[in-house]
């Protein structure tokens, strides 16, 4: 696969075109907003957390395929997880994307077995300026989780 084919895998385009959990949560959810001012990408996240577990989540976003697909994939993974599990997931994502140091969490022999669709984002690493696109949703999630402990 060329770098571009790897970057724009079908699963990424599917999440881009059909983002999961689009919308807004009614009531008084935890709300966090992320943006990359240099490119204008935006990500809005609503979460309900009960007994330390995410019970519902919704997103609204605006931006490139990578930022929105990454956000959509994230939305697929967060409901039902505890705050601690999500912090671990964020860390795994950051290591996979070479944003943080650490041993790769991915099992190369069984693609998708550890982080599911999210593993398709590894192609972004070859495009360093786009890594911040992939990270936008996760940075927003991190901010939302910080609100649960305050």
């Amino acid at each position: 696969m060329t770098g571009l084919d790897e970057l724009y895998r079908e699963v990424i385009l599917d999440h881009y075109r059909n983002p999961r959990r689009q919308g807004k949560l009614q009531g008084d959810p935890i709300h966090a907003e992320g943006s990359n001012p240099s490119c204008g990408d935006e990500f809005f996240l609503d979460l309900f957390v009960e007994d330390n577990v995410v019970t519902d989540a919704a997103m609204r976003g605006l931006g490139c395929s990578i930022s929105q697909a990454s956000g959509s994939m994230m939305m697929d993974m967060i409901v039902g997880k505890s705050v601690e599990e999500l912090r671990e997931l964020i860390q795994k994502f950051k290591v996979m994307m070479s944003i943080s140091e650490g041993d790769s969490p991915i099992d190369e022999d069984r693609p998708g077995s550890v982080l599911g669709d999210l593993e398709a984002l590894q192609g972004v690493r070859k495009f360093p300026v786009r890594i911040k696109c992939a990270d936008l949703a996760w940075a927003t999630l991190s901010e939302a989780l910080d609100q649960t402990t305050s």
């Binding site: 571009l4 724009y8 881009y16 240099s38 204008g40 935006e42 931006g63 395929s65 990578i66 786009r130």
Partner: protein
């Protein structure tokens, strides 16, 4: 087509390869590439003439001052002005800030209006917002026609006696639309307002004579016209520059300094506090020499042709939307577009793999983006060194983007 291709060998960077392809640089609205003559002039200054300007009686200081002031004369002549009407600034942004603070702060009062257009770059919006906070003035906007030129039909409604400043772009960095300079300069005069022309995209691409423009101030940047970054110019009518206070105080800009107060050096020096970017000023002079030698009429004709060709070729591509006038007499060579649901950042990444440099994003014009109800555009922009084959490569690469995103 006006063939300037022989000039390409003057630009060393055009020999570069990007991702295994020859560089196709279509981002001159962001910054332009530099010819050898500009690079050499700056290098030569540091190697042979490096000294501070306007002080010291030694030979080098005299030579450096002559080069610096010589560049001021060249840049002034380039826009039909006198050297003592031309202030060197850090760029267009600084020039507009100088007007906002230096003129606005001591002329604007509560309830005054600053008339701008919705197509302005942040550089011609945010300084006015800042100065409004201090003075109680307020921004009012002209909007756009269907072809994205400025709609002046509502001028009657917004042009009141409260309007103190009319600030507008000569050419949009997003849509390429030319600003209605004559109409807005006249509108400003009719209500006793001053007019400020953001010439960042205009001066590099078309012949400009301040005597014909009818505006009070003109701001532009060297790096968008073959010169270095870090330098630009503020031209003002002599009486306006006299009315303006210096925004920065320090060395070089004073006449006398006492314990508690000082008097200023004459214009333009009162606006040039501290050691200026001397090499950059010299590079700016070399840049206008280069443009003069090619001829601004020739450059403008070349750009009209390559813009017309680009608009034609882009129009062939399914799902592609161009944001800007189609009539090349109403526009410059910055061409913004969208391609289906392929986000502009994705377009830029895909094109970059073919060595093609375009800009993607909001182009520092978020109010315009919001007005157009789009988050971003991709933008190809051209200058004297671009050739039609580069447009062909752009089109081919855009078809590749369509394919990658499965558009049929």
């Amino acid at each position: 087509m006006t063939d300037l291709r022989a000039l390409r060998s003057d630009f060393p960077i055009l020999d570069r390869e990007i991702n295994g392809h020859p560089l196709i640089y279509l981002d001159s609205a962001a910054t332009t590439q530099k010819p050898d003559s500009v690079l050499d002039a700056m290098d030569e200054y540091y190697r042979l003439y490096n000294a501070n300007v306007h002080r010291g009686a030694h030979t080098l200081a005299t030579e450096a001052t002559e080069l610096y002031e010589g560049s001021r004369s060249k840049v002034a002549r380039f826009i039909g002005a006198e050297p003592d009407q031309l202030v060197f600034t850090r760029g267009t942004t600084t020039a507009i800030n100088y007007i906002a603070y230096g003129w606005g702060l001591n002329h604007l009062k509560e309830g005054d209006k600053i008339l701008v257009t919705i197509m302005e770059h942040h550089a011609n919006l945010v300084p006015w917002q800042l100065i409004s906070r201090y003075t109680g003035a307020e921004l009012v906007y002209l909007e756009l026609n269907d072809d994205l030129t400025v709609d002046t039909s509502t001028l009657d409604q917004v042009l009141t006696d409260d309007v103190a400043i009319v600030a507008f772009s000569g050419m949009s960095n997003v849509t390429g639309a030319l600003g209605p300079i004559d109409v807005l300069a006249e509108a400003a005069r009719s209500v006793g307002a001053i007019s400020v022309l953001d010439g960042a995209q205009l001066v590099p691409h078309t012949p400009v004579d301040v005597a014909d423009l009818g505006v009070d101030f003109l701001a532009f940047s060297a790096h968008k016209m073959l010169g270095p970054t870090g330098i630009g110019a503020l031209w003002g009518k002599p009486e306006r520059l006299e009315e303006m206070e210096p925004t920065e105080g320090g060395g070089e800009m004073i006449n006398t300094v006492e314990r508690n107060e000082s008097t200023w050096a004459p214009v333009p020096h009162k606006f040039e506090a501290g050691t200026p970017p001397i090499a950059e000023a010299i590079g700016f002079g070399a840049a206008v020499d280069y443009l003069d030698a090619v001829g601004m009429d020739t450059i403008a004709a070349h750009e009209r042709e390559i813009t017309a060709y680009t608009l034609d070729r882009l129009s062939e591509i399914p799902d592609l939307t161009i944001y800007g006038p189609r009539d090349v007499t109403l526009r410059g060579s910055a061409v913004s577009f969208e391609l289906g649901d392929v986000h502009p950042h994705d377009i830029a990444t895909i094109l970059d793999q073919d060595g093609i440099a375009v800009r993607a994003g909001h182009h520092c014009a978020r109010p315009l983006m919001k007005y157009l109800k789009i988050p971003a555009t991709a933008r190809a922009s051209f200058y004297l060194y671009n050739v039609p084959e580069e447009v062909d490569a752009l089109v081919e690469s855009l078809y590749k983007a369509r394919k990658l995103f499965g558009l049929t």
